[in-house]
């Protein structure tokens, strides 16, 4: 009998709350396997982004264990958590924000400009060029964000998330507000870059889009962990995928 491999994400007995609002997240146990594609889903305000922030170490759990890529984030101080995040976690945000005063290449290299934990080298620049080439943006490397189309901006933001070669890619509602074609483009991009099989990145996507859910094998219904939500936020609920139950208590 062989023991199960370490998960990419393990939350056990985690508690987090926004004191003034009474909102609270309680996660008895959540495992996301390495290389898997996981969705945190649920209605607005149920705590999907909060859960993502706990996994990324942006927020700190009040209690419990948050282990990501084998590191217990609860045991790290703020600086160590930031260093861990910038090295091991790629973040894709809902609006794909770019820095307007930097060109495409410098936007991709942005994490190296703002963190002491990373060091910008020639190899990193080559990696950025390769990424831009793969994303068909190499000829736009000197363009400013305002000169890009929406799709190009999204690809730049994804390239920035991947430049540090993180094993974990977190995407916070990357398809919200997009039409069907753009949604599919973004989804294909994320899935393609996350890779498949051995050596694939773990991909976690916050979403409430059923089409996106269909493409991801593991579903986590975040509202199951939440209490104290605003009434309007608890109106809808989607069950976890029967194929890959993610939460167990």
């Amino acid at each position: 009998m062989t023991s199960a491999p370490d998960p990419a994400i393990l939350l056990r007995g985690v508690r987090f709350s926004y004191a003034p609002s009474g909102f609270e997240l309680r996660v008895p146990e959540l495992r996301v396997a390495r290389g898997s594609r996981c969705a945190f889903f649920g209605p607005s305000g149920c705590g999907k982004s909060t859960l993502l922030d706990l996994v990324a170490g942006v927020r700190r759990a009040l209690a419990g264990e948050v282990v990501v890529e084998g590191r217990d984030l609860g045991g790290l101080d703020d600086a160590s958590r930031r260093a861990f995040r910038i090295r091991h976690v790629g973040f894709v945000f809902q609006d794909f924000p770019l820095v307007d005063y930097l060109d495409v290449e410098e936007n991709v290299l942005y994490p190296y400009r703002v963190s002491r934990a990373l060091s910008l080298s020639a190899a990193v620049r080559e990696r950025a060029a390769a990424l831009l080439d793969r994303l068909e943006l190499l000829d736009k490397r000197r363009s400013r964000p305002r000169a890009l189309s929406q799709g190009e901006r999204q690809r730049v933001a994804v390239a920035r998330a991947l430049i540090t070669e993180p094993p974990l890619l977190l995407a916070d509602e990357p398809t919200a507000g997009l039409d069907a074609r753009r949604r599919d483009d973004v989804l294909e991009l994320l899935l393609g870059l996350a890779g498949a099989g051995e050596g694939a990145r773990t991909l976690v996507v916050v979403t409430h889009d059923p089409v996106v859910l269909e493409r991801l094998e593991q579903h986590v219904a975040v509202e199951d962990f939440a209490s104290g939500m605003a009434a309007s936020s608890t109106a809808t609920s989607t069950a976890t995928s029967p194929e890959a139950p993610a939460s167990a208590s």
Partner: protein, 385 residues
């Protein structure tokens, strides 16, 4: 990390040049006003005091000590009244007494009549040529020579002192015999001549063609009696070897006017003695230029202090404006700052990027201010000397 922070700050500033320019200029103005005022006041103070310190006592006609000092030390304005030349002999008992006649000019440049002791006391040496020795000769100060494009051997015509004074001096051609070394003092801006040359420009000393009895106003004059020349007699307006002997002073030299006598007392006792002896003089005054200049500077410093308050108000309003621009800029950059926080940038990174921008703006403003203050001080220095 510092290199990266500076990189981002530079890019951010370059992307909004208008905002950067407003910040730089606002800060530069706020820095320049008080910095320049203080520095200029210090330059003026230093220059005025230095000149005053090197001029222990001035004796002139009773009146405004300020006018006497400005005229005799800085060659500005003219002493309205004069004293007799022979006061110099009396003052020589106390130390070196140097006569000064400051009331003539050539092309607007003061022509100062004095004696050779002046050059020795002021360490005024010719860079080219020599000091004036004969009537009608001048030594040009370095700046005056530059302004009038003079070289040794050139001539310069004195200005007409009074168009309606027919008995006064006529414009006379003065010969430049030397150019003085620059001293950085008001001596650079004038032409120095012998005191007799100043009297020549006064019209008290002149040369003219021989007056024949048949052209005289008193043709019946007896043998040995002075003949009186009429206006038809030709007055020489240039001193040459041929006519030098004809120049003469009407009356005694002791009664001729000087605007002041600069006294360099032999010792402290004579210094105090001179001031004491002249304290009760009814027609003369002995002043210590240092005291006069200090009293003027007191007023300047009081004005400067009032200006400081004004400039402080300007600086506060400028800084408030700059703070507003920075705050608005931070609001505009809120998405970027949030991005930095979420991807794992260090807590100080955002502050460092914004701080680096402000530091670059401040550094440029300081450089601009420094250059402007320097240029201003060069200009003020020129005015002072």
């Amino acid at each position: 990390m510092l290199r990266d922070v500076l990189f981002l700050a530079r890019r951010s500033l370059a992307a909004a040049p208008g905002r950067a320019a407003v910040l730089v200029l606002g800060l530069a103005v706020a820095l320049f006003l008080p910095a320049f005022t203080r520095a200029a006041a210090a330059v003026v103070e230093r220059a005025l005091l230095e000149r005053a310190r090197s001029s222990p006592i001035l004796v002139g006609a009773r009146g405004s000590p300020f006018d006497l000092v400005m005229s005799s030390l800085y060659f500005r304005g003219g002493a309205g009244t004069t004293i007799r030349y022979d006061e110099r002999s009396r003052l020589a008992e106390y130390g070196v007494a140097v006569p000064l006649v400051v009331r003539h000019s050539a092309f607007g440049v003061p022509v100062v009549g004095t004696s050779p002791e002046y050059f020795e006391q002021r360490d005024l040496v010719p860079a080219a040529g020599r000091r004036p020795a004969l009537l009608g000769e001048v030594l040009a100060g370095s700046a005056a020579a530059r302004r009038l494009e003079l070289e040794p051997g050139d001539t310069v015509r004195s200005d007409l002192a009074n168009l309606y004074d027919l008995a006064g001096g006529y414009p006379t051609l003065l010969e430049v015999v030397g150019i003085a070394e620059p001293t950085g003092t008001p001596d650079d801006d004038v032409l120095f001549a012998d005191v007799r040359t100043a009297w020549l420009l006064d019209g008290l000393l002149h040369g003219h063609q021989e007056v024949r009895p048949d052209e005289a106003l008193n043709p019946e004059a007896d043998e040995g009696e002075n003949v009186e020349a009429s206006a038809a007699v030709f007055l020489f307006q240039r001193i040459t070897a041929d006519n030098l002997d004809t120049f003469h002073l009407h009356g005694s030299a002791g009664e001729a006017p000087v605007t002041a006598v600069l006294v360099f007392p032999r010792d402290a006792r004579r210094h105090d003695q001179l001031l004491g002896d002249f304290a009760l003089e009814e027609t003369l005054q002995a002043v210590r230029p240092l005291e006069v200049v200090r009293s003027v500077l007191d007023i300047v410093l009081r004005v400067s202090a009032a200006l400081d308050a004004y400039f402080a108000a300007v600086a506060i309003s400028t800084l408030a404006f700059a703070a507003l621009v920075v705050l608005l800029s931070l609001r505009l950059r809120a998405p970027e700052l949030e991005l930095m926080r979420r991807i794992g940038a260090s807590r100080g990174a955002a502050a460092a990027v914004v701080g680096a921008e402000l530091a670059i703006v401040a550094a440029i403003a300081v450089v601009i201010t420094g250059v402007a203050v320097w240029a201003g001080l060069v200009w003020v220095g020129g005015l002072v000397t």
